[in-house]
């Protein structure tokens, strides 16, 4: 029942998550870098539950967050989130370590995930929900050709809904 999907880009491999990714994910969720995506969290079991929920997303929806690896090393995750509290499926990306930012990895990974969403699930013109203070994420969705559509809220916090262009662009 576990999907094994792997997507190669120029520099990265996106693959379905594995249990051994947990330490990298937990370090990220415990860090201030997770402030716009449900963190920082402190309780280890709580972080485990969040990690396990990503597997459940794949199990229930058939899609979810891919682990991003570069030369075998886990550097982040990207893919689709469609929780019951979401208005529609969302394309998102978390780069775990600040040292890996500014190299275009998020843009490269999200572009590949966006194309996969369309090819595998017919999901096109995806949304990304971005907190108004999250300048790094805004820069990435701009590079991907997304445009701000409207303001809304997500889990009680203000966000901008950015609309992506056709996946094949």
């Amino acid at each position: 029942m576990k999907a094994h999907i792997s997507i190669a880009t120029d520099r990265l491999v996106l693959r379905t998550p594995e249990e051994e990714d947990f330490d990298a994910v937990a370090r990220f969720m415990a860090s201030q870098r997770a402030q716009f995506v449900g963190g920082p969290r402190t309780d280890r079991f709580d972080m485990w539950r969040g990690f396990l929920s990503q597997f459940g997303h794949w199990g229930l929806r058939g899609y979810g967050m891919f682990t991003i690896t570069r030369k075998g090393e886990v550097i982040g995750r990207t893919g689709l989130l469609n929780h019951v509290m979401w208005e529609e499926p969302e394309l998102t990306c978390h780069i775990f370590d600040a040292g890996e930012e500014g190299k275009g990895y998020a843009t490269e990974a999200m572009r590949a995930a966006r194309l996969w969403a369309w090819e595998a699930h017919g999901l096109n013109r995806l949304a990304s929900f971005v907190h108004p203070d999250n300048g790094a994420a805004q820069g990435v969705v701009l590079k991907l050709g997304a445009v701000p559509e409207r303001e809304t809220t997500l889990l009680g916090r203000p966000v901008h809904l950015w609309r992506h262009p056709e996946a094949r662009q």
Partner: protein, 175 residues
Amino acid sequence: MTKPVLHTERLTLRLPLQADWPAVRAFLCSERSAYVGGPMEDENAAWRAFLASAGHWTMKGFGYFTVLHNDAPVGRVGIVEHPAWDEPELGWQLFDGFEGQGYVTEAATAVRDWAYGTLRMGPLISYIHPDNIASQRVAQRLGAQVERETTLLGGPAQVWRHPSDDDDGNPEAYA
């Protein structure tokens, strides 16, 4: 792996589906979940826990079944093994309004036998809070016995040990 479906005299046990969410949310946000990590503070926390249960199946190939009676979810029974667990656990949760009918015992017997036969596990344990009298009664009906006291996720827990697969001391548990 294939998706197992277990049938008992009155119940069907299958993997979780999104359709179970309203029943699971009601359970996780109520006092009934006090001994299994609840009540959850809000819908988001409950949804994470629900997805995590589904994810346990995706990651490990076993987890909590949704227990159905006449197509309605009456509870969740299954095998869990989180990192803080000493070994795989047979666990059960009964939703509001379905008490006193033996559903948990019936479902847990089926799951235990499936775990012993298909997963080659056992003899299994159940972690039960010392104040959770209802669950202790279920464990007794299943033929389990208290093995030791421990802590689980910072709270007190009794470790109950279930009979092994070839234990013929309690034949009714295998009926």
